[in-house]
């Protein structure tokens, strides 16, 4: 069962908030986290690019674009979407860039999207960070879906965990429970994502020929840092 309901009705234009990061509700933050997770989970398919061209997609981008941290990324996105005609070339360009950066094709000039690669002694995958991320999933009663055969310290999984924790805060009955879920978000963000996201960005920046993923990683870093500040204030 997917955690986000794919079939939910699109929100009305007027419902869309255009807040600064500090004003986001837990539910809104969950949406941003899930979006960012999707961005790094896989190459962008033709279907995904088409979805951004549809009215809902345009609205979604507009909503994200209002946030300072995400603005550069959204701007790039809008350019990509607007470039229009050569959809398949855009798709393949990004897929090639994705494979080079995140699937190992680029060799040293790549940016493995795993915490273990940055925090383990020998720069390997499936190290302590992976085990600890897995432990947290166990604790939450969740597992990485079979359709995504990646370790639990993959950036998209960690971002999905943040989305899930934010959703639980949003759904919490009463302030004490909400505070608890916010504290868990803060701990996870600080202990996991913020511990390696900067070197991850630097690797993207050094190796990305397309520019798209370097921008995405920069926006990601900025959003995570801003969100970290927000959580410090509220959790």
């Amino acid at each position: 069962m997917p955690v986000a309901e794919a079939g939910a009705a699109p929100p009305e234009e007027s419902d869309l908030p255009a807040p600064a990061e500090s004003d986001l509700s837990d539910g809104e933050r969950a949406i941003v986290y899930q979006w960012l997770a999707g961005l790094f989970a896989r190459e962008m398919s033709l279907e995904t690019l088409s979805a951004y061209r549809a009215a809902e997609g345009v609205a979604l981008l507009k909503q994200f674009g209002a946030m300072a941290a995400l603005a550069p990324l959204v701007e790039q996105f809008q350019g990509l979407v607007a470039s229009g005609q050569r959809v398949s070339a855009g798709d393949a360009d990004l897929a090639g860039a994705y494979a080079r950066l995140f699937l190992g094709v680029g060799g040293r000039r790549s940016a493995p999207p795993y915490e273990s690669a940055y925090t383990s002694e020998r720069g390997l995958l499936f190290q302590e960070a992976s085990a600890e991320s897995q432990d947290l999933l166990d604790e939450l009663g969740l597992h990485v879906d079979e359709s995504f055969p990646e370790p639990a310290d993959h950036i998209a999984v960690q971002l999905s965990v943040m989305a899930e924790l934010a959703r639980r805060a949003e759904a919490a009955a009463g302030e004490p429970a909400r505070t608890l879920w916010r504290a868990r978000q803060r701990a996870f963000l600080e202990q996991r994502l913020l511990s390696w996201i900067e070197p991850f960005y630097e690797s993207c920046d050094a190796a990305d020929r397309s520019g798209f993923y370097a921008t995405a990683a920069r926006s990601l870093v900025d959003f995570l840092k801003a969100d970290g500040r927000r959580l410090r204030d509220t959790a």
Partner: protein
């Protein structure tokens, strides 16, 4: 948020993940030895050598790291231009083009479609499947046999013969000794320790190279070498480098000019003869054709007596030293143990032939501790053999060759494998090979598995161009090797440690059978070789023929039960399969026959009843069969011939020889992508040993990045300035991962240090057509340009 669901579907599902493998310790095995793996939370977290291994390799942690390396191939990938435009698309961009992830279904569909197209369009010789390399051990997931098993069901293919290790020797030795010789049990170490007075290693580094085995090494040579060292008896190393083994023994070091060994041996042989130290009775009774060789030795046939003085001029070792060696060799029981470097050179056939001739003149072949040996440095030749049962294994489905169940004849055509680039460049052209003449086939596609030709083949720049002839290249591997980077379709395979298998322990001793148990679940979308080829066979409508209805464990059980039947016939104490699998291994007893084995003792005892497998039944110092072939580059008796290029040779264009020895911290190119690299790299590059004088002349200091170059290629390396290498020689180990600064460009600089950028790609001779990976001269300079980053390894910048 419907749009969000469409662009960012959830990656998490409810429910706690079930650990697929149990925590605890697992016995498994590799080319580096048997080991115990610790598993925690489904992850492989620690490795240690098997308790019964007397000398576990320091490379085992690298084996573990290779599973979790960022260089793993994670998903099926297709080169972008190929995906968009099909076979033959923009082949010049291989190595530089993007790769795009595809589903397994799409990757296999593309592969099967192309296998069929090539077969239908170009016929049985359109597909080259001579795929060679150090595939992982295991009797089932033998990816090369499995691939050819599938291809035999599809139709046909072009196969390859021989290997890169012993290309020349394995062809000449059957003419000379009647056996392959290079892959045979040696007079065992306890006998050497007891009976040899002098141990000579000629072009070998046994402490380094015995770490690895083709199956599971038992490392039995190490106690042997340690025991010999304790006796205090003399050891001599003949090698341009004072290698690690020479230091281990505290041995005497003699450093001839590379590639001149035949001349050096002739000088020793001449001294033996002129001083009457040779064993004429042995030559008469056990050898054929010494009388035809002698006029050459004495110069009666060509006007040049091969005196010690003559030899000294060529090999650079003083004549007095050569004479002294002759006297010492003849003065007691001497074992001449040669490595294979000698025969991976132009005219490589001559060197081991001359070594056998020298040993024949000494007359100690078949006596305890005397004679010659061609496998003391490899897979622990000389480790005492057990009374054992032997496993069968998956076959390629080809026709079995009489008397050698492990060899089959498959394929529509066969080339000597090191001639692959000649084949690509010259389809239809004649080539000679061991008395036969054939034509190079016109191949259009290759499927490569369990090997990395962009490491092991010579003359990289020439190869990169020739590789473009392939319209389609499929590579199935577990990591992004240079070969995978130059492919069109890349399929992710599991490592040995993500599947179950079974293998023999001790290449020569066969001391045990080990259950190679799965350590961890397959990572990412990697699939087992068996499953990949079963699925391709299925898509060809041949699944039942491929699997014979067997699963992985069915096959493993069957291989064991075949061995069990032999064991029962020999009254060996072997458990049934289930008990064996539970225990993890079964050992076999080493008995007196194994502990006292002397190679050729039978032949010496009774040469008429135990003749050799040569035409004369004797050691052939002169070969009529080779004479009949009439090859200008392989005369009918051991002969000194100038190689195409050598240090101080006639018209040498460059002043230094490049020695390309086997590395200490890798198996050829395997594990170059792991943290073991930290144990040997200099300035993040392959180390280059250079003599103090040569370095001083060029202003090179220890630790400098240097550029090594000749008219074939150029590469960077990190200088190690030392006196442990003779002047005029530099050494860069083979197997460094090819890392072109400009992939696909003409004569691109290799940033990391693939020494095959410099080596010559010609056959050893028309006889064996082996590779000449040790034939290279070059020059070196301090590198002063902008240093290109090494990018072949996925070490993240800030890790």
């Amino acid at each position: 948020m419907g749009a969000l669901g469409a662009v960012a579907p959830s990656l998490l599902s409810p429910g706690v993940a079930r650990a697929a493998v149990q925590d605890g310790e697992v016995l498994s095995a590799s080319h580096w030895g048997a080991f115990t793996a610790s598993v925690k939370g489904g992850r492989w977290v620690n490795v240690k050598g098997w308790e019964k291994d007397p000398h576990p390799s320091h490379q085992l942690p690298g084996v573990m790291d290779s599973v979790y390396s960022p260089t793993r191939i994670k998903y099926p990938m297709v080169r972008r231009a190929y995906l968009e435009n099909g076979p033959g698309a923009d082949v010049a961009s291989r190595g530089a083009d993007d790769f795009v992830r595809v589903s397994w279904d799409q990757a296999l569909e593309l592969t099967v479609k192309e296998l069929k197209r090539v077969e239908e369009t170009y016929g049985p010789t359109g597909t080259y499947a001579g795929s060679y390399g150090w595939k992982s051990p295991g009797k089932l997931h033998n990816c090369q046999n499995l691939m050819r098993r599938m291809l035999n069901l599809k139709g046909s293919f072009v196969n390859s013969a021989g290997d890169y290790s012993t290309g020349a020797s394995q062809i000449i030795m059957p003419h000379v000794m009647g056996t392959l010789e290079v892959y045979e049990q040696q007079t065992v170490w306890p006998v050497i320790v007891e009976s040899s007075d002098l141990l000579v290693f000629w072009g070998a580094d046994p402490m380094v190279t015995n770490q690895i085995g083709w199956i599971i090494p038992d490392h039995g040579a190490y106690p042997g070498m340690e025991d010999f060292k304790k006796t205090g008896k003399p050891v001599i190393f003949i090698d341009p480098v004072r290698n690690e083994s020479c230091d281990f023994f505290g041995a005497e070091w003699i450093a001839p000019k590379p590639q001149t060994d035949v001349a050096m041996m002739l000088g020793i042989a001449h001294t033996l003869h002129s001083e009457g130290l040779h064993d004429q009775a042995f030559l008469d009774d056990y050898c054929a054709g010494f009388d035809k060789f002698l006029p050459y030795l004495l110069g009666e046939s060509d006007g040049t007596p091969k005196t010690a003085e003559w030899a000294a001029e060529i090999c650079g070792v003083p004549a007095d030293t050569l004479k002294d060696l002759a006297r010492r060799f003849a003065g007691g029981r001497t074992m001449l143990a040669s490595g294979w470097s000698l025969q991976r050179q132009h005219h490589g056939e001559q060197r081991h032939w001359m070594l056998v001739t020298l040993a024949s003149m000494l007359g100690q072949i078949g006596l305890p501790g005397g004679g010659f040996g061609l496998s003391y440095h490899y897979s622990s030749g000389g480790s005492p053999g057990a009374n054992s049962a032997v496993l069968s294994g998956i076959t390629d489905g080809g026709k079995a060759v009489e008397g050698a169940a492990w060899l089959t004849e498959s394929g529509a055509a066969t080339i000597p494998l090191a001639r692959i680039v000649d084949m690509l460049e010259n389809p239809g052209q004649d080539f000679d090979f061991n008395g036969k003449r054939d034509k190079y086939p016109d191949v259009k596609m290759t499927y490569w598995t369990g090997g990395n030709p962009f490491a092991h083949h010579q003359d990289r720049n020439r190869m990169v161009k020739a590789w473009q002839k392939f319209e389609t290249v499929v590579v199935q591997d577990f990591q992004w090797t240079a070969t995978a980077r130059h492919a069109d379709i890349v399929l992710p395979a599991t490592t040995s440690y993500e599947r179950n298998d079974i293998e023999q322990y001790g290449d020569y001793s066969l001391k045990a059978i080990i259950a190679m148990k799965q350590v961890v679940e397959p990572v990412f979308e990697a699939r087992n070789d068996y499953d990949i080829f079963a699925e391709i066979s299925d898509r060809l409508g041949k699944k039942q023929d491929f699997t014979e209805g067997n699963s992985e464990m069915d096959w493993i059980r069957k291989f064991y039960e075949d061995a069990l039947k032999q064991g029962q016939a020999k009254n060996l104490d072997m458990p049934d399969f289930d008990a064996f699998w539970e225990q993890g291994y079964v050992e076999f007893p080493v008995e007196e026959a194994g502990r006292s084995y002397v190679r050729y003792a039978d032949y010496r005892e009774d040469p008429l009843l135990e003749p050799l497998g040569t035409p004369t039944g004797k050691i052939e110092i002169f070969s009529r069969n080779i004479e009949k072939m009439g090859y200008d580059d392989c005369p009918p008796h051991p002969t000194w011939m100038e190689p195409v290029e050598r240090l101080d040779g006639p018209n040498a264009k460059f002043p230094l020889h490049v020695a390309t020895s086997h590395p200490r911290g890798r198996l050829h190119s395997q594990l170059c992508g792991t943290s073991l690299r930290e144990t040997y790299t200099i300035a993040e590059r392959e180390p280059c040993l250079i003599n103090t004088e040569d370095a001083a002349q060029r202003g090179i200091a220890d630790g400098d990045v240097v550029r090594i170059f000749n008219d074939r290629g150029q590469m960077l390396a990190g200088a190690v300035v030392t006196d442990a290498i003779r002047p005029g020689v530099i050494r860069v180990n083979e197997g460094g991962w090819y890392d072109p600064v400009e992939p696909g460009a003409d004569n691109s600089l290799c940033a990391y240090g693939d020494v095959n950028c410099l080596t010559v790609d010609i056959g050893t001779s028309k006889l064996a057509q082996g590779n000449c990976g040790h034939t290279a001269i070059a020059d070196v300079e301090k590198f002063t340009g902008t240093l290109p980053e090494v990018k072949v390894f996925s070490t993240p910048k800030n890790a």
